[in-house]
C-alpha cells in the first residue's frame, strides 16, 4: 500500500482567527502552561485582531500556524539523535521526548518560527492532573515539543483535534496522496499557498485563498 501524505488545508477566506483550534490542541495534548503548538496569527497589523492599512482602507485575515509536517523537513536533518523524524507511512514529523537531548537545533533549523516550544523547566499546569487524551505522551523538562498531528487520535481513526472543532469550517485534514481525498480536491478547485515556499520544505499544510 502506498504511503500516505497526511496534512491539512486551511481556508483563509473562512478562518476568523477564533483560536478554537489552538485551544483544542492545548487541552487534547495536555500542554503545559504557556505552551501552544498551534497559534492564530493576524495577517494585518502588529497586534492580534488589528488590520493593515488606514481606516477605512483596512484589510485583515488570519492564518493558524503549527508544525508544517514538511515533505522536506529542515528539522530532521539537524537532529543529532533522531528525536525528530518523519514517519514513512504517513509523513507525520514526530518528536520523541525520550530521545530528545534538548539541543534545540531543530528549533533553529525550522523556518516556521514558534511552531516548536522548549520546556526550560519542569512543565507546569493549571490543573493538577492530566487533561486531554489519556494516550498523550507526558511532557518532559528540557525537551522540544510540537504538533504531531494528534497521532494518538489518528491511531483511533480520528482526525487531529484541531479539525472538527473549527467554528468556521475552515480546516480539512486528509491524505494528499489520495487524489480523491477532500484535501486533494480542494487544492484542485481553489487557489492556495504554502508558507515560505522559498525554503523548499514543501509543507503539507496548504492555505486556500
Amino acid at each position: 500500500m502506498a504511503n500516505k501524505r497526511l496534512g491539512m488545508v486551511i481556508d483563509t477566506k473562512r478562518c476568523i482567527g477564533c483560536h478554537t483550534c489552538a485551544m483544542a490542541c492545548k487541552v487534547e495534548n495536555n500542554l503545559p502552561d504557556k505552551n501552544w503548538w498551534n497559534r492564530t496569527l493576524t495577517v494585518g497589523g502588529k497586534e492580534m485582531d488589528t488590520p493593515s492599512g488606514t481606516f477605512p482602507n483596512a484589510s485583515m485575515s488570519y492564518i493558524t500556524l503549527a508544525c508544517q509536517h514538511c515533505e522536506n523537513p529542515a528539522c530532521t536533518k539537524v537532529c543529532p539523535v533522531g528525536a525528530t523524524y518523519k514517519r514513512e507511512a504517513d509523513g507525520v514529523v514526530m518528536q520523541d521526548y525520550d530521545k530528545c537531548i534538548g539541543c534545540r537545533y531543530c528549533m533553529v533549523a525550522c523556518p516556521y518560527t514558534g511552531v516548536r516550544v522548549f520546556n526550560w523547566e519542569k512543565p507546569k499546569y493549571q490543573v493538577d492532573f492530566a487533561v486531554g487524551d489519556a494516550n498523550v505522551t507526558p511532557h518532559q523538562k528540557h525537551t522540544v515539543e510540537k504538533c504531531m498531528l494528534c497521532t494518538h487520535r489518528l491511531a483511533k481513526g480520528l482526525q487531529p483535534a484541531c479539525i472538527e472543532v473549527c467554528t468556521a469550517r475552515a480546516r480539512h485534514f486528509g491524505d494528499f496522496n489520495d487524489p480523491n481525498s477532500k484535501v486533494s480536491q480542494l487544492l484542485l478547485k481553489r487557489s492556495h499557498f504554502q508558507l515560505l515556499p522559498d525554503k523548499e520544505t514543501n509543507p503539507t499544510v496548504y492555505f486556500l485563498t
Binding site: 477564533c18 483560536h19 487541552v27 481513526g157
Partner: protein
C-alpha cells in the same frame, strides 16, 4: 390580568404574559414554532460524534448553559472522576446526522469553541469558591471568613425575613444575570422563579440588549422573548446579506460559517458598523457610519427606495399597512368603528391571552371611489389624500414618504457621514436582490435611540417585501425557546435601571412601592455588567441592608456581598436547558461529576433558603418534581416535551428544519399586516408610550443618541465615542480568570485609531486612561486602523482588579430611554490620555 403589574416589569412582563395564556395555546403551538410536532431524535446513549472513549473514560453530554447564545452541545469526558476534556457533540437535525466532510450528513449545529473547550480549567480553577463565606471587612474589601452552610443559610434567612417584615415582601430583590439558562440552576423562570414567587420577592430585571425588540415587534407584531425570524441555517439561501452592528466573527462565532456558506453560494455580504470589524474584513462592502446614526441611514435608504419607486408595490398593498387611511387630525387609523360598526372581539391571541380586536382598517378603493374595509377593496390606493365623512385622511404610505423625505442621501450624509452613492447602492441592492436578509447584533440598540432602529429596519423589509420566505431573515435568531414556564416568576419585577428612580423618589414609573433593601444575586455580575459602576458601588449598594451572591468565582459583585455561596459547575448537576438561543433545540444536561468542595446546585440552595424562611412546602418535592413543575407546561405538552423525553433523547428540536418566520404572511399585529405605521405605540414592557413620545414612535424617527452625538455640548470635552466588543475570550464576565484564555488575552486593552492616538501622544502599548465625568479605566493602547476616527473600542468583561485602575463599566451612562427601558452601553462619550500611574 393585572395591567399595572404587567407594565412595571420590563421585558419580563411579556414573557410572563405569554405563560399565563399558554394553557390556551396548546392547540396553537404550531403557529408559534412552525408546523407539526417536533421530530424526536433518538440519540444512542453511548454515541459521541467523532469520539472514541479511552480506557476508563466515560462520556457524558451537556450544553454550555451561558449567554453567548451558542448553547453548543458538548461531550464531557470524565476519567478517574474528573472532567479531562470537552468535545463537540451532535446537536442533530434528525433528517440528517453526520461528521465532517461527509456530504450525506448535516453538522450545521455541531459545534464547540475556545471557551467551551476550557471547561476543565474552569471547573478546577484554583480561585473557585469552595465554601460559604461571610464578609470579614468592609463591603468590597474582599476579606472573608469561612462559615458553614448552616450559618450561611440561617443568617441569610434571618436578614431576608427582617427586611421583608420591616419594608414589605417586595423589598427583597432577586436579580439574575444571564450566566446560566438552566431550569433548575439557572436564570430562566425555573427554580429561581419559584423562589421569587415563594418569597414574594421582586425580580430585578436585566434591561439589556433588548433595545430594538419593541421596534421590530411594533411592525411585525408581538412575539415572546425576542422576535420571529428564520432559522440561521436558512441564511445560506440568501443572496444579499446585510449585517448590522454585529461582529459575529468575534462575538457570535458560530453564526459565521452559515454566512460563509452563503457567500460561497454567491451571496453578497455588506457589513454596517462604525468600525472595520472582523466580519467587515470578510465582507464585499463595509459601510461605516457615525456611531448611533444607523436609524438615519436606514431612513435614507427608505427615501431612495420610495423616490426611485423600487419598492415592492404588490407586497405593500397586500401585506402591509401602506394603503391604510390615517386621520390627519390625530394620527389614528380610520377603522370601521369610526364608521359606526362596533369593534368585535376576536379569538384569543396566544401570546398575550387577550382577545384580539376585530375592527378593520379602511383603505381608499380607487374603483369604487370611496373608503372601504381593507378586505373588500379591489383597487386600494397606495397614496393620496381623501375625505371620508368629513374626516381628512391620508395613506400610511404617504406618511412614511413624508417622514423620510428630508433624508435624501445628500442631506443624511451630514448625520451619518455615509457617502450618497453608497446609500443609493445599498438601498438599490436591498430592494432589487431577492432574497435579501438582515442579520442584527446588539450594536445598533446600544444607544438610547435603539427601539426606533428596530422599527426602521423592519420598515425597510416591509417596503421591499423581503420577509416570509427562505433567505429573508429579519434579525439574527436569538433567544429561541419553548420549554420555559413563565408561571415560575416573581409577583413583581422592575428593571435594574429603574432602581435609582425608586431609591430617589420611592416610586417606579410614578407608582409608590417598597424600596429594595436586600438582594439575592445569582448567574450574574451586575457591578461590572451594568452601566455606571461607581453609582452602584458608591451610592446604591450602601442603601442595601444585606446582599447574598451565589457564584463559583469571586467576581466584582461577589466582593460586594455580605455572604457568598458557592455554586456547582454546570457539569456537576443535572438540568434542562429550555431554550436554544441561536438554534432550535432543547437540551438535557447530564451530571458528569459530583459538585466540588462544598459547592451546591442552585436548586438545593433555593430549597435550603425557602425552608429556613418557612416556605419549605414549595420545595418539598424532589429536584425531579421541581424540574417537572418548572419545565412541563401546556405548551411543552402540546409538543410531547416532557422531562422524561428530554432526558431520554438528550436533544429535541422545537422548530421544523429550515424554519421560515411569517411564511404565511400573517403577522401578529391587529391587522395581520406589517404595520410600519403604528398609531398606538407601546414600550418595551407593552405599556402605551407616553403621549408626548407618541408622535416620534409612530414612524421610524431619527433622534440623536442621548450622549454620543456630535451635537452634544459634552462632545467638546469628550470627543470620542466609547464602543465595546464582546470578545471571544469571555462571555460578559464569565471565563474572566480562565488561565488558558488569559494566556491568549492577558489584560484589558483599548483599541484606538492611530490618528486619534497621535494627537494625544499615545504610542502602541502605552497604558492609557480612558475617562469622563463618571469614571475611568486604565488599559493598554492598541492602535488599529480598524477603528473609526473618533471612536474607541474596548473588549468587555474584565473584573475591576484586572485593570491597572478603574473599570470600563465606570464610564457608561445609566440614563435610559423610557420606550426602550434598556441600558445604553455605547451611548458614551469619553477622552483618553496617557496614564500617569495613579490608581
Amino acid at each position: 390580568m393585572n395591567e399595572t403589574q404587567q407594565h412595571s416589569r420590563g421585558r419580563q412582563a411579556s414573557r410572563r404574559t405569554f405563560l399565563k395564556t399558554s394553557a390556551a395555546a396548546t392547540g396553537a403551538a404550531a403557529l408559534a414554532f412552525g408546523t407539526g410536532k417536533p421530530i424526536i431524535h433518538a440519540l444512542a446513549a453511548d454515541y459521541a460524534a467523532g469520539q472514541v472513549p479511552d480506557r476508563e473514560e466515560k462520556i457524558f453530554q451537556a450544553p454550555c448553559y451561558n449567554n453567548c447564545f451558542g448553547h453548543c452541545r458538548l461531550n464531557v469526558h470524565v476519567r478517574d472522576g474528573k472532567v479531562v476534556k470537552t468535545s463537540r457533540a451532535p446537536l442533530p437535525d434528525p433528517r440528517y446526522a453526520a461528521l465532517d466532510d461527509d456530504p450525506t450528513v448535516d453538522d450545521s449545529y455541531y459545534r464547540i469553541c475556545l471557551r467551551g473547550l476550557s471547561h476543565p480549567q474552569r471547573i478546577y480553577s484554583p480561585t473557585r469558591l469552595k465554601y460559604p463565606m461571610k464578609r470579614a471587612g468592609a463591603r468590597g474589601e474582599n476579606k472573608w471568613q469561612r462559615i458553614s452552610w448552616e450559618e450561611a443559610i440561617n443568617t441569610t434567612a434571618e436578614k431576608f425575613t427582617a427586611v421583608q417584615r420591616q419594608y414589605g415582601k417586595t423589598a427583597l430583590g432577586i436579580h439574575h444575570g444571564s450566566g446560566n439558562f438552566g431550569t433548575l440552576n439557572g436564570s430562566m423562570p425555573g427554580s429561581l422563579g419559584l423562589l421569587e414567587k415563594t418569597l414574594g420577592a421582586t425580580n430585578i430585571d436585566l434591561a439589556l440588549d433588548a433595545g430594538y425588540i419593541p421596534g421590530i415587534n411594533r411592525v411585525c407584531g408581538f412575539y415572546p422573548g425576542a422576535w420571529n425570524t428564520n432559522e440561521i441555517a436558512d441564511i445560506v439561501n440568501s443572496r444579499n446579506i446585510y449585517v448590522w452592528g454585529h461582529n459575529m466573527t468575534v462575538s457570535a462565532i458560530h453564526q459565521w460559517h452559515f454566512v460563509a456558506d452563503a457567500m460561497e453560494n454567491g451571496a453578497k455580504l455588506t457589513v454596517f458598523d462604525p468600525n472595520f470589524t472582523g466580519i467587515a474584513a470578510k465582507a464585499h462592502r463595509h459601510v461605516s457610519m457615525r456611531p448611533g446614526t444607523d436609524t438615519a441611514l436606514i431612513m435614507s435608504m427608505i427615501q431612495v427606495i420610495l423616490a426611485e419607486k423600487i419598492y415592492d408595490q404588490d407586497f405593500l398593498l397586500a401585506h402591509t399597512c401602506a394603503p391604510f387611511l390615517v386621520r390627519e387630525s390625530d394620527g389614528m387609523y380610520l377603522r370601521m368603528s369610526d364608521m359606526g360598526v362596533p369593534a368585535k372581539e376576536g379569538p384569543i391571541f396566544i401570546y398575550t391571552g387577550k382577545h384580539t380586536v376585530i375592527d378593520p382598517n379602511l383603505v381608499w378603493d380607487t374603483e369604487k371611489n370611496k373608503a372601504v374595509p381593507v378586505d373588500e377593496a379591489t383597487a386600494p390606493a397606495l397614496e393620496g389624500s381623501f375625505e371620508v365623512r368629513g374626516v381628512k385622511v391620508r395613506t400610511a404610505f404617504d406618511l412614511l414618504r413624508d417622514q423620510v423625505a428630508s433624508f435624501d442621501p445628500e442631506t443624511s450624509k451630514s448625520i451619518t457621514d455615509v457617502a450618497p452613492d453608497v446609500v443609493r447602492a445599498v438601498a438599490r441592492d436591498f430592494a432589487k436582490i431577492k432574497p435579501s436578509a438582515s442579520l442584527i447584533g446588539m450594536g445598533n440598540q446600544a444607544y438610547d435611540n435603539g427601539p426606533v432602529w428596530g422599527h426602521a429596519i423592519a420598515t425597510l423589509h416591509a417596503v421591499t417585501g423581503q420577509i416570509g420566505k427562505s433567505g429573508h431573515a429579519l434579525g439574527n435568531p436569538w433567544f429561541m425557546y419553548l420549554g420555559i414556564n413563565f408561571g415560575m416568576a416573581a409577583p413583581e419585577a422592575i428593571a435594574c435601571i429603574e432602581l435609582p428612580e425608586l431609591l430617589e423618589t420611592g416610586k417606579v414609573k410614578g407608582k409608590v412601592r417598597p424600596p429594595i433593601k436586600a438582594l439575592l444575586i445569582s448567574q450574574g455580575n451586575p457591578i461590572t455588567a451594568w452601566v455606571d459602576q461607581n453609582y452602584w458601588v458608591k451610592t446604591y449598594w450602601p442603601t442595601l441592608d444585606f446582599v447574598v451572591v451565589v457564584d463559583d468565582q469571586m467576581t466584582d459583585t461577589a466582593q460586594m456581598a455580605d455572604i457568598v455561596l458557592p455554586k456547582s459547575h454546570w457539569f456537576e448537576h443535572e438540568d434542562i436547558l429550555p431554550l436554544g438561543g441561536t438554534h432550535p433545540f432543547i437540551q438535557h444536561g447530564d451530571k458528569a461529576i459530583e459538585p466540588l468542595y462544598e459547592s451546591r446546585p442552585d436548586v438545593d440552595i433555593h430549597r435550603l433558603l425557602a425552608t429556613k424562611m418557612g416556605f419549605g412546602e414549595s420545595y418539598a418535592g424532589s429536584n425531579e418534581d421541581i424540574l417537572k413543575q418548572c419545565f412541563e407546561t401546556p405548551l411543552t405538552a402540546g409538543y410531547g416535551l416532557t422531562v422524561e423525553n428530554v432526558r431520554k433523547y438528550g436533544t429535541l428540536r422545537f422548530q421544523n428544519k429550515g424554519y421560515i418566520a411569517w411564511n404565511d404572511l400573517k403577522f401578529n399585529t391587529q391587522s395581520g399586516r406589517m404595520e410600519f405605521y403604528c398609531d398606538k405605540p407601546v414600550d418595551q414592557a407593552g405599556a402605551p408610550v407616553a403621549p408626548e413620545r407618541t408622535k416620534g414612535q409612530r414612524l421610524p424617527t431619527w433622534e440623536q443618541p442621548r450622549e454620543a452625538s456630535v451635537d452634544n455640548p459634552l462632545f467638546k470635552k469628550y470627543p470620542l465615542v466609547l464602543n465595546s466588543e464582546r470578545p471571544r475570550f469571555r462571555v460578559h464576565t464569565q471565563w474572566f480568570n480562565t488561565e488558558w484564555l488569559r494566556e491568549l488575552d492577558p489584560e484589558p486593552i483599548i483599541r484606538l485609531n492611530p490618528g486619534d492616538a497621535a494627537k494625544r501622544n499615545i504610542a502602541h502599548g502605552d497604558y492609557v486612561e480612558i475617562y469622563n465625568d463618571r469614571g475611568h479605566a486604565v488599559a493598554k493602547a492598541v492602535l488599529s486602523g480598524g477603528v473609526r476616527p473618533g471612536v474607541m473600542v474596548y473588549p468587555k468583561g474584565w473584573q475591576r482588579y484586572q485593570h491597572k485602575a478603574g473599570s470600563f463599566s465606570e464610564l457608561d451612562s445609566r440614563a435610559f430611554d423610557s420606550v426602550g427601558i434598556n441600558q445604553s452601553f455605547f451611548d458614551v462619550l469619553a477622552e483618553v490620555r496617557k496614564w500617569n500611574g495613579q490608581v
